[in-house]
Each structure stands twice: as structure tokens, then as C-alpha cells.
């Protein structure tokens, strides 16, 4: 069973030879080939080389196009700050939609228009060309709340939910359509799995999530599935209060941050494939191999059969190789449902 087959089998609830291993690697991957992160996010060839090297070195079951949350906004014309060796970021004081009326004049960007979205599409194509059918190529898009926050400014958006829900609805509609176009271009280039990163959804609370964000996610995931894509939902932070809702959305893989106890996740999502959620800094980067093994063993026990090994969020830069290898070894040496605590 190769990596691609393993991931698809887990998603389809078929027997797997071992637990899949699917951490998010970005700066950690760039460091594997010694390129600055500024190069990684701006040249798909660097990203591809880094992903292939990282996936090979740590026997990771996917190769991913994930890099930073600013690609779509860049192609819309948003102001983004770039750094030499860290991810690009938004300055809220210069948010594209600081003036809400601008939304009405925004045109959907062309994912093949030669911008930063196109760079990611090229990454998906080259990854597919290089990896063939051995590993699944993971495309990446921003989730509705995260992208809305990128464009509007997260502080403003959080107040808009209460002050101007009609505007938020219009913004979410725009974002979902943009992300579906981006996903389609990546899928046509070779992505078989689509990651949806929505770091801001955990901030808004269950009422707003149910009323405004769930419908947007639902429209997004339905659209992704209609393209034949498998899907991975990653949300940073505590989603303890929206676990059932996350399970109801229809994503194939629910990727959980370390603040969420997997026992609670499993209770609320009995039939979903859970991924995670070793604490990135405290355990994976700063802990010992023993800490990593203890933590991932507990994750495996709590999650049960439908489980994929990963960290709670991006594997941090400077994570010791032996800690990553400890995660891998756990995945390699366990079949779903056969997890016991390592003494």
C-alpha cells in the first residue's frame, strides 16, 4: 500500500496497513532544503523541492501546496507584507476592505492569471508530475472566515458579524466563489485532496459559526466534493464548542489543533476521520522523543480507528528531526485501533 492508497483507504473507511502520517509542513519544509521562506512562498519550484524532500525524509503521506494565507488576496490587489524568511502577512491598517463599499467592485481573480494563485497551481502540477501516484497531492485554499478576515481585517470582521451581517454574507459569498475557482484550478493541475485552512473560525463562537460560517463552509465543501476532491478541514485554535458542527459539514478529514481534546472530538464526531493533534511548540518542538511518543499514543487511543497522525498545526521551524521521526515511527508501527500507551 503506497501513501496515496493509504490516505484514500482511511478516508473511504477501508483497511489500511498502518496509520497515515499527514503533518502540515511549511517553514520546516523550506529548512529541509535550505531555502529562505520568502523564496518558498514565491517560487513554486522551491516549494515542490522542499515538499518532496520533506515527504521523503519523514515518509509523509501527502505532498502539499500550503504556504501562506495571502495568495488569493495578493491576486485581488491587497497589500501584503513580505519577509525574507517568514510567511507574508496582512497589515490590518491597510486592509483591502477597510472600506466595505469596495467589495461591490471586486472582481474574482483568475487562478491562472500569472499571479500568486497561479504559482500554487503550478506547484500542484509539478508535485503531481514528480510524485505520480505514490502520494496524494494536497492543494490548499483559505476557509471562508479566514479569507474574509484577510480582506476585511480580523478585528473589523469580528464586529461586522454583529454590526452588519448582510455585509458579512456578501463577503462570504464572494470568498466561497473565489476559493472554489482556486480549488478547481489546483484540482485540474493534479491535486486530489484539498486542504481548507480556516484559522479564524474558532474565534467567532458557536452561534455565529452555525448562522453564518457553517452555510459558507457547506457550500464550499459541497463544491469541492462535486469536483471529485477529497477534503481536509484545518482550523487553528479551540474549536471545542463547534465540534459537532465541524463533523456535520462533510469534510473527509477533520484536522484539530491541540487545544481540542480528541476524546471530545471523537464523542462529537463518532464517524469522522480525525487528524492531529500533538502540541506543536510544547511537545513537538520543545519536548523529548518520549514526550512525543506519549502524546501521540494518547491521541491515537482517544481518536480510535479513524485517525491520522499529525501535529495540532504547522510543524514549527527548528523541530528536532528525531521528534518528527518519532511521530513517523508511531504511525508506521500502528494499525488503526491497535494503539496502546507506550510506557
Amino acid at each position: 500500500m503506497n501513501s496515496r492508497e493509504r490516505v484514500l483507504a482511511m478516508i473511504d473507511r477501508r483497511a489500511v496497513d498502518r496509520i497515515p502520517f499527514m503533518p502540515i509542513t511549511m517553514m520546516f519544509a523550506a529548512d529541509q532544503i535550505g531555502v529562505k521562506y520568502g523564496q518558498y512562498v514565491s517560487d513554486y519550484r522551491m516549494l515542490v523541492e522542499a515538499q518532496l524532500r520533506t515527504a521523503e525524509r519523514f515518509d509523509i503521506d501527502q505532498v502539499s501546496c500550503i504556504s501562506d494565507p495571502t495568495r488569493e488576496a495578493c491576486d485581488l490587489g491587497a497589500k501584503v507584507r513580505f519577509f525574507d524568511d517568514q510567511p507574508p502577512a496582512f497589515d490590518e491598517s491597510e486592509a483591502m476592505l477597510a472600506d466595505k463599499t469596495i467589495l461591490a467592485s471586486l472582481k474574482l481573480p483568475d487562478p491562472l492569471g500569472g499571479g500568486r494563485m497561479h504559482d500554487r497551481v503550478k506547484a500542484a502540477a509539478l508535485l503531481k508530475e514528480r510524485i505520480g501516484g505514490d502520494k496524494i497531492v494536497e492543494g490548499w485554499i483559505e476557509g471562508p472566515c479566514g479569507q474574509a478576515a484577510n480582506l476585511r481585517g480580523i478585528n473589523r470582521l469580528m464586529l461586522d458579524f454583529i454590526d452588519d451581517p448582510a455585509f458579512v454574507q456578501d463577503l462570504l459569498d464572494f470568498v466561497v466563489e473565489m476559493e472554489l475557482r482556486f480549488a478547481r484550478a489546483q484540482a485540474e493541475a493534479g491535486a486530489g485532496l484539498m486542504g481548507v485552512g480556516d484559522p479564524a473560525s474558532s474565534l467567532a463562537g458557536p452561534v455565529i459559526f452555525r448562522q453564518m460560517l457553517m452555510p459558507a463552509h457547506k457550500k464550499l465543501v459541497d463544491g469541492l466534493r462535486a469536483m471529485g476532491l477529497r477534503t481536509r478541514s484545518h482550523m487553528c485554535g479551540s474549536t471545542k464548542r463547534i465540534l459537532k458542527e465541524r463533523g456535520d459539514l462533510g469534510y473527509d478529514i477533520i484536522d484539530l489543533d491541540s487545544m481540542v481534546p480528541l476524546t471530545a472530538a471523537r464523542m462529537n464526531m463518532p464517524g469522522e476521520v480525525l487528524l492531529g493533534n500533538v502540541a506543536t511548540v510544547e511537545v513537538l518542538r520543545n519536548g523529548s522523543v518520549g514526550d512525543v511518543i506519549d502524546t501521540v499514543s494518547k491521541c491515537g487511543m482517544d481518536a480510535g480507528d479513524l485517525y491520522i497522525v499529525g501535529a495540532g498545526c504547522e510543524v514549527p521551524r527548528d523541530t528536532p528531526e528525531e521528534n518528527m521521526l518519532a511521530l513517523l515511527e508511531f504511525a508506521r508501527s500502528h494499525k488503526p485501533g491497535a494503539v496502546t500507551v507506550v510506557a
Partner: protein
């Protein structure tokens, strides 16, 4: 006394207009600014913090409460200054150099203000020398630094070193926080404290400022 309760309720539900009108009514009725702050605003923001920690309130509710509190402070601040009364302990807060993520810092700033502290918010991407200048000019008792990225955390150490070089380190207590920050890291870089959440940060500021 209804103004006290009205202001408390307005902040709790995040209604800035009602907070403003309740504050005005309280002033007109002869309540002192400190009465309104101590009997309405501080307990209201304490409750907001409690609800946030319990995950009954989330970021929108917290920002709304902060906005309501600020609308009350717009009326109270000039009166406090005119009467020569001091605002609470002065705290400087900012997200460190290279890091543009500010929502966590904003939440802490808002809750500190609601707890009666005088907060000077330096914003995001604040260079060490800006912290130094702010400490020289504003003479705070506490400096709070935030970082969301592991790659920007080292700027906390650099900022502490800059304060040491400027001879200011002993004048302030330095607290750090943010998703990748740990108590171990705080100790390593010589910070005086660390909190993993906003309400913990407020408690910590209270502790170190009373001990300073």
C-alpha cells in the same frame, strides 16, 4: 444607582450607545468617574473575561464589550484628568517586530483597560527601540509583548535586551504571551511572567503591578 447597573449591563452585552448614555446619566446624577469605573466597568469586564475564559463569550462579544467600555471612557477620561485623579497603573502593550498579528494583543489590551489599567497600545510590528522610547516617555510599570509566530518570538528577547541596554529593565515588569510562547521560553528570555490566555494576562498584570 440605576446608572451603575445600566452601564454594567451595557458593557456586558456590548452596547456602546447604551454605555455612553448610562455614563452620561451617571455623571448627571452626581456619580464620580471612579464610582462608575470601579462599580460598573471593572466588574463588567471581569465578567466578560470570565465568560470568555469559559468559552461562553468569543472574540466578537469581547470586542463589543471593549467598544462599549471605550465609549464610556470617552466621557470619563476628561473628568478624571480635570480632577487630577490618576488613571490606573500604566501598561504598555504591543506585538513584537516582524509580527502583524494583533487580535490577541487587542483582546488583552481591552481587558486590561476594563480592569482599570491605563493602557498604551503601541500596535503591531513594534521594534525594540519603539518599546524603549515608549518606556522612556510614558514610564509604565508593566510592558506586555505578544507574538503569534515562532519566528517572531526572538524579538521578545531582543526587546528585553534593548531595555537592558537602555538601563530601563529594572523600571518595568515584562510579561509575554501568544500562541507559541511558553512559560519556559518566558523564563529563558528573562521575562517576569507569561500567560497563555487573556484573563490570565490581566491577573498577572495585577500581580506584578502591585508588587512593583
Amino acid at each position: 444607582m440605576s446608572s451603575i447597573k445600566d452601564l454594567y449591563d451595557a458593557i456586558l452585552v456590548g452596547d456602546a450607545k447604551k454605555a455612553h448614555s448610562a455614563t452620561k446619566a451617571g455623571i448627571d446624577a452626581g456619580l464620580s468617574p471612579m464610582d462608575l469605573i470601579q462599580q460598573s466597568m471593572v466588574p463588567a469586564m471581569d465578567e466578560v473575561g470570565r465568560l470568555f475564559e469559559a468559552e461562553d463569550y468569543f472574540v466578537p462579544e469581547l470586542l463589543l464589550a471593549g467598544r462599549a467600555m471605550k465609549s464610556a471612557m470617552e466621557l470619563l477620561r476628561p473628568l478624571l484628568i480635570a480632577s487630577g485623579q490618576k488613571l490606573g497603573t500604566r501598561v504598555i502593550i504591543g506585538t513584537v517586530k516582524g509580527d502583524l498579528h494583533d487580535i490577541g494583543k487587542n483582546i488583552v489590551a481591552s481587558m486590561l483597560e476594563g480592569s482599570g489599567f491605563e493602557v498604551i497600545d503601541l500596535g503591531a510590528d513594534v521594534a525594540p527601540e519603539e518599546f524603549v522610547t515608549a518606556v522612556q516617555e510614558c514610564e509604565p510599570r508593566v510592558v506586555c509583548m505578544s507574538a503569534l509566530l515562532t519566528v517572531t518570538m526572538p524579538a521578545m528577547r531582543t526587546t528585553i535586551e534593548a531595555l537592558e541596554s537602555a538601563g530601563l529593565r529594572d523600571r518595568v515588569k515584562i510579561l509575554v504571551g501568544g500562541a507559541p510562547v511558553t512559560s519556559q521560553y518566558a523564563a529563558e528570555i528573562g521575562a517576569d511572567g507569561y500567560s497563555e490566555n487573556a484573563s490570565g494576562a490581566v491577573t498577572l498584570v495585577k500581580e506584578v503591578s502591585s508588587a512593583a
